[in-house]
């Protein structure tokens, strides 16, 4: 069942500031097998977020081809892309992107609403995701009333509640302490174990070691693409067990 989930072929992306062209991606080739867990690393400004946006169908490439599940994305119209974002992709933003006027629960419900899920099911599914992320006590808080880590977890809950085929996370652990970060990684590994495809952007090699493969991006080009060596591979459950127990992660209980 090793079908190709993500097939990126010499994708370019140019930004324009006035007339000045800023090439953010300069011919990226990349394939991700269905069910794989991949890390993308690279210095700041190397184009990681740009690539993730394209993978998540939030933006269109300037050139090249991107096939998701064998279907060429650039041939899709806006409504079809919206459907892909809604059904197939769970995107976790570097900056959370929660709606400030909605509560945590309502934020998580949002993609399910657009999917047309009926009230009771929708609520249950959103609730389930929030509980899974240890936010049982924060259901009716607005983003402003939550810490950065809690907001990040709401954002993750929103992405995974919709049970997407592919989870795309842009620096998901950047705002979290090591224990909570590790718990998030455990969740990703669990999703991965269930057969989901997971792509994580990170600066932290330790986060990358939770994945099967690491891709290095530099200046808009993939400069390295190698599997994580078995001796480096980290299982979040084990790391968690080794961590000294603190009061920090108690919300999870």
């Amino acid at each position: 069942m090793s079908t190709i989930m993500v097939d990126v072929c010499s994708v370019t992306k140019d930004y324009y500031i006035g007339k000045i062209r800023i090439p953010a991606l300069r011919g990226v080739d990349l394939q991700i097998t269905s069910g794989e867990m991949v890390a993308i690393m690279g210095p700041s400004g190397s184009g990681k977020s740009t690539l993730m946006n394209i993978l998540g169908c939030l933006d269109r490439p300037s050139g090249g081809s991107y096939k998701l599940h064998g279907e060429e994305v650039s041939k899709k119209n806006d409504a079809q892309l919206a459907e892909i974002r809604n059904n197939a992709v769970g995107f976790i933003f570097q900056s959370f992107n929660l709606l400030p006027q909605l509560t945590a629960l309502e934020n998580v419900e949002l993609p399910l609403i657009y999917r047309g899920l009926a009230g009771k099911n929708r609520r249950a599914q959103a609730l389930n995701a929030l509980v899974r992320l240890g936010l049982k006590e924060r259901l009716h808080h607005r983003p402003k009333e939550l810490s950065g880590g809690e907001q990040q977890r709401v954002a993750i809950a929103r992405a995974v509640a919709a049970e997407p085929e592919i989870v795309l996370a842009d620096e998901p652990t950047g705002a979290l302490d090591s224990r909570t970060g590790e718990e998030i990684l455990a969740l990703f590994q669990e999703l991965h174990a269930q057969g989901n495809t997971v792509v994580v952007v990170t600066h932290d090699p330790n986060v990358a070691y939770h994945c099967e493969r690491v891709m290095y991006l530099e200046d808009g080009i993939v400069v390295a693409n190698e599997p994580v060596r078995a001796k480096d591979y980290l299982l979040a459950e084990e790391v968690l067990a080794a961590l000294p127990p603190t009061g920090e992660g108690d919300a999870k209980a």
Binding site: N53, G56, L58, D59, R60, D78, A79, A82, E83, R85, N86, N87, F91, F93, N97, L98, L99, P100, Q101, L102, E106, L110, P111, I113, Y114, R115, G116, R158, A162
Partner: protein, 386 residues
């Protein structure tokens, strides 16, 4: 399903940002309320003039005193009638506060003290009973002739003739009922007037002078001649140009036509300005919140909202806010015009001003709510999120 969803989203969004919602509505409220109030003042003035005009018969000349020295007496009236051949009828008019009471029911109407000839002079006809006799006038009879609306609304089926009513604490006997003169059921006007002898009216309350004379000329030609003669006589009498104002019905119609035009233009301009001001208020709030809303749209699109779903929400939001604001504006405007009427300025809320201002505010609200949203919805989610 999509509609219900959009309504829910819109509702959440309105409640989620109460200040923004309130400010948006405020623009609509101000626009609608000010238009309705202003137009109602103008319309009130216009109606009052119109009714006054209707209450005068044809070939009527009105003379009113503009100063205390110009006092009209019955002797003066008799002298005028002798000297000017074109006069058919002449009578003094005394305005009285018109509230009357019958069997403990108070009724609002206008009241006039008039002479014996008031029926032919004003082109009025009796539906029942009689008019005033010479003895009524000379003997300061406490008799009253009532307009058709008074008869219908106050006496409700009871024949008013012979009934006793109270006016300013004095008891009057109704002796006559008039036929309706205006077909429409106006709140004010000639059909809602009661008449008593002017001599009696002079005894009522503080207004104890005759400040108005009504004259009916024998014909259209005599009417203008009579007006000229009157002016000359009064000038000789008082040695002043403006002690007395003589106005024939033709003068009046012409003046009113001019005034109506000016008033229409002025009100149109004021109403237009206040609508534009309200409209700018609405747009301002809508546009100020664009960057915030652009981000919101980006987020919604990122989690899978289609453009139609986003626009549906914004459209419904704008419709809810603008129409709620519009309704509140109508209430405020009508309330304000009511209050103004209490201060003695006649007002009349017109259906046209309500409809036009509401529609305009709704349109501005919807356009300025949906247009930025439509622009933002066309962006890629990433561009909208930046």
């Amino acid at each position: 399903m999509i509609l219900l969803l959009s309504v829910k989203m819109a509702w959440r969004s309105i409640l989620g940002n109460k200040i923004r919602s309130a400010l948006t509505m405020l623009g609509v409220i101000i626009g609608v309320a000010s238009v309705i109030t202003l137009v109602s003042v103008g319309q009130g003035a216009r109606l009052e003039i119109q009714q006054h005009l209707q209450s005068l018969g044809s070939n009527v000349i009105e003379v009113y005193s503009h100063s205390w020295e110009a006092q009209f007496t019955p002797e003066l009236l008799a002298e005028l009638k002798d000297r000017i051949s074109g006069i058919k009828h002449i009578m003094p008019v005394v305005h009285v506060g018109g509230n009357i009471k019958w069997r403990n029911t108070m009724f609002d109407c206008s009241g006039e003290g008039v002479g014996e000839d008031f029926l032919p002079l004003r082109d009025l006809e009796l539906a029942g009973g009689r008019g005033f006799t010479e003895t009524d006038i000379s003997g300061r009879g406490r008799v009253m002739v009532v307009g058709s609306i008074v008869a219908d609304k106050l006496f409700r089926g009871v024949n008013p003739v012979g009934q006793e009513v109270y006016m300013q604490g004095q008891r009057f006997t109704v002796v006559g009922v008039l036929k309706a003169k205006v077909s429409s059921d106006q709140e004010w006007g000639i059909d809602r007037t009661v008449y008593i002898p002017y001599s009696t009216a002079l005894r009522l309350g503080g207004n104890s002078r005759i400040d108005t004379i009504n004259i009916k000329a024998k014909g259209a030609l005599e009417s203008s001649q009579t007006a000229v003669q009157l002016k000359r006589i009064f000038y000789k009498l008082y040695r002043r140009e403006h002690a007395v104002h003589v106005m024939s019905r033709d003068d009046m119609i012409q003046q009113i036509a001019e005034m109506n035009l000016i008033m229409t233009l002025m009100l149109g301009a004021i109403a237009g300005i206040s609508l534009v001001v309200g409209g700018i208020g609405i747009m301002n709030i809508m546009l100020v919140s664009v960057s915030e809303r652009t981000r919101e749209i980006g987020i919604r699109k990122a989690v899978g909202a289609k453009n139609s779903q986003v626009l549906g929400q914004f459209l419904i939001e704008a419709v809810i806010l603008s129409s709620a604001g519009g309704i509140i504006g109508i209430l405020f405007g009508s309330g304000a015009s009511h209050i103004i009427r209490h201060f003695g300025v006649p007002t009349a809320v017109t259906l046209a001003s309500v409809i036009y201002s509401f529609t305009f505010a709704l349109l501005v609200g919807i356009i300025s709510g949906v247009w930025p949203a439509a622009k933002a919805a066309k962006l890629n989610p990433t561009d909208a999120l930046r």
